[in-house]
């Protein structure tokens, strides 16, 4: 396969903290409530440019909730209140001047279950560029659709049936279609909420490869309940428990030498 790159072959970026560039996204003291119930407590996380950050933790620990704060998807939920500071390129995304529609163009999202729209494959990918007015004529749309599908490694499989409905694809293909849909609007950050939980191992492996390629051009934040997956694809890992960030650090460090007992218990499978 032309696109095959062994995940382990890639150099793990190890740069001293002082030399590190300003993070792409940073969260400080994020607290979140659903109605009366607090779901996040003082979460601090930095996401570096062109890196993958994995969020792990037992179910209900707030990792997905936190992910959804990063492109303000929680805005759509009634009774959700958020405090703290989340910045994209140093700009507070919860600031009144920030337009949530443009923010979500910059910070795209891929969901747990593949959710292609009930439209053709072509229209699924063209949807984002269309609403954001990124292309003006057919040729430009064609180009965006092609490059996005190629970027998601799906082009070869669907090139001859772009007009077929998106949900006629298999689960793994659907999820890659959703990734193509997300990158078609040229986001800077891609959020992935357990993107492989509904897929079989082979489809999962394909997505994981893809994530690694995407990292070179996008910044990625991924929620996963699969620790091997976190270890394979990410450079940094954050461990959540009961809405609190327990530990955040280099993935190697977390998995080989966690500082917190609770992290160790979790990754060794004592609870979760």
């Amino acid at each position: 396969m032309a696109t095959a790159i062994k995940v382990n072959d890639l150099p793990k970026t190890e740069v001293p903290a002082a030399q590190r560039p300003a993070p792409k996204m940073s969260a400080r003291k994020v607290n979140l409530w659903y109605g009366q119930k607090q779901a996040l407590f003082d979460v601090d996380i930095d996401v570096a440019k062109n890196s993958v950050v994995a969020l792990i933790g037992p179910s209900g620990c707030g990792k997905s909730t936190f992910l959804r704060c990063l492109n303000r998807m929680n805005d759509t939920i009634d009774g959700c209140r958020i405090e703290g500071d989340i910045r994209l390129d140093g700009r507070d995304i919860y600031d009144r001047s920030v337009d949530v529609v443009q923010l979500r163009q910059q910070v795209g999202m891929v969901f747990q279950k593949p959710n292609p729209f009930p439209k053709s494959i072509y229209e699924n990918v063209a949807y984002g560029p269309r609403i954001h007015g990124l292309a003006t004529n057919k040729a430009e749309f064609d180009e965006i659709v092609e490059t996005s599908l190629k970027g998601a490694g799906l082009w070869n499989e669907v090139a001859d049936r772009l007009s077929q409905p998106g949900n006629s694809l298999s689960g793994g293909q659907q999820q890659r279609l959703c990734i193509a849909r997300a990158i078609a609007v040229a986001p800077e950050v891609i959020l992935m909420d357990e993107p492989c939980s509904a897929l079989d191992p082979i489809a999962t492996a394909k997505i994981e490869e893809l994530i690694d390629e995407l990292r070179q051009h996008f910044t990625i934040c991924i929620v996963t309940h699969n620790m091997q997956q976190a270890a394979r694809v990410s450079q940094k890992t954050a461990f959540f428990h009961l809405g609190k960030l327990i530990e955040f650090g280099d993935t190697d460090e977390i998995f080989t030498n966690p500082k917190q007992q609770m992290t160790q218990d979790y990754i060794t499978g004592r609870f979760g």
Partner: protein
């Protein structure tokens, strides 16, 4: 192609797209938000229009009908002249019944307006009161013969045109030729009012009388009684059969083609136009079974056929909302399927079934078209005494009065609608309260 280069190439078109100028993006976003606002406004507008139309509808009904609950009466001092009523003096009931009460009434009118004692004047005065006034006097005497010889003030129903005039519905400034009430009649009513002989009271006639050709005597009694019988028959037939059918389909039915047929059939029946049920009632109940035309029995049966599918559908929904765990638990302790349903599922589903039943009955109460098919459109001047007597129903009475040109009938029609809506609202409120009281989440 080396992999890394090819990868870089793959994304170049996306990541290296030239950024669009800030102003272009801002303008585009502004347009998108404008569209968003417009869309939202249209949606809100649709709701406002719908609710506004409801308000207009109800306001029309109320403003037209409120007047009908008031009635103006003329109070005259009637001298029950023994020479006129009982010349023989032996209080023979038959003689009393045959006496000329019109003459008694005329005397009372002349006493009030002595200057009108000519042929035309008398006619005008008689027209002022409802034509039942003489009968009213007769009834009074028959009830209490001791009245004879005395002079008592008596309340008479005012004729509907005069009543409308007093309610301000007749415009005296209109050219005389364009109104039914002539200047002379108006003057007479005004004089009656000046003498303080007009009394305004609650219109009990509306509830105690059956239909009449005279608007001021027309009431809803026959319709109320007819509707009551029909609802009773409809309830007694459709609810047991409907609930039993729903229980069977939801709890016992095997999965096969026949049961599928029944299911499709029930769902379709619930959407068959009501007038078709009227045709069915006409062909089956009237022509085949020989149920008397216009009888509440025929109406009730027809409405029962119409309500049955509704009851089945709502009961099935109520049964479906009972979680399977209840059934499993009961089966687990050795209850038979029948015991499970009758001891556990049905009692739990009862509030839902009741709510649905009330809503189905409310629909039946407001239904008109099928009743027209089985001859319930007849003019019924007698209150039916049983389900086999010719009767009418509330909504049919509305329809009947809508055909009459008199303004007073329009007013009464709107009043009948108010009564009908009152019943419907009461039923729905009960349904809502039931749902609230027994609502439970599993």
């Amino acid at each position: 192609m080396t992999e890394l280069v090819s990868n870089g190439g793959r994304f170049a078109a996306i990541t290296q797209r030239p950024p669009r100028p800030e102003a272009v993006v801002a303008a585009h976003t502004r347009r998108r938000y404008a569209r968003e606002r417009r869309f939202k406004l249209i949606g809100m507008g649709a709701v406002i229009v719908a609710i506004g139309l409801l308000a207009i509808l109800l306001a029309t009904v109320l403003s037209n009908g409120a007047g009908a609950f008031q009635q103006n009466y003329a109070v005259l001092d009637v001298r029950f002249d023994p020479a006129e009523i009982d010349p023989s003096g032996n209080r023979d009931p038959e003689a009393l019944a045959d006496a000329d009460y019109q003459a008694v009434l005329n005397d009372a009118l002349v006493a009030a307006f002595p200057d009108m004692d000519d042929r035309q004047g008398r006619r005008a005065m008689r027209a002022m009161l409802s034509n039942s006034s003489a009968l009213q006097l007769r009834q009074m005497v028959l009830d209490d013969p001791s009245l004879i010889g005395s002079t008592v003030p008596v309340r008479f129903l005012l004729d509907d045109e005069r009543d409308q005039y007093l309610k301000g519905e007749v415009d005296p400034s209109l050219a005389e030729a364009n109104r039914r009430l002539k200047d002379r009649d108006i003057a007479l009513v005004d004089r009656l009012a000046e003498q303080g002989r007009i009394e305004t009271g609650f219109n009990w006639t509306l509830f105690t009388n059956a239909d009449s050709r005279e608007p001021e005597q027309a009431g809803l009694r026959a319709a109320l009684v007819g509707s009551f019988w029909m609802m009773l028959i409809c309830f007694l037939l459709s609810v047991p059969v409907g609930v039993a059918a729903a229980v069977y389909l939801e709890e016992f039915a095997p999965k096969n083609r026949w049961i599928d047929l029944i299911e499709v059939n029930v769902n379709n029946l619930a959407a068959v136009p009501s007038i078709v049920f009227g045709l069915l009632g006409l062909a089956i109940f009237l022509n085949l079974f020989g149920v008397p035309r216009s009888a509440s029995l025929a109406g009730g049966l027809t409405l029962a056929l119409m309500t049955l599918p509704v009851i089945i559908v709502v009961t099935r929904a109520a049964l479906r909302s009972i979680p399977p765990s209840i059934r499993a638990a009961a089966l687990g302790v050795g209850a038979s399927p029948l015991q499970v349903v009758f001891h556990h599922v049905l009692p739990l589903a009862l509030p839902g079934i009741l709510t649905g039943t009330i809503i189905g009955m409310a629909r039946a109460l407001g239904e008109t078209a099928p009743l027209l098919m089985i001859g319930m459109i007849a003019f019924i001047a007698n209150v039916p005494s049983g389900p086999l007597d010719p009767a009418t129903a509330l909504p049919v009475q509305v329809f009947l009065w809508s055909d009459s040109p008199e303004r007073a009938f329009t007013e009464r029609m709107a009043a009948a609608i108010i009564v009908l809506l009152g019943f419907l609202i009461a039923m729905n409120v009960i349904a809502v309260l039931l749902r609230k009281k027994f609502e439970r989440t599993w």
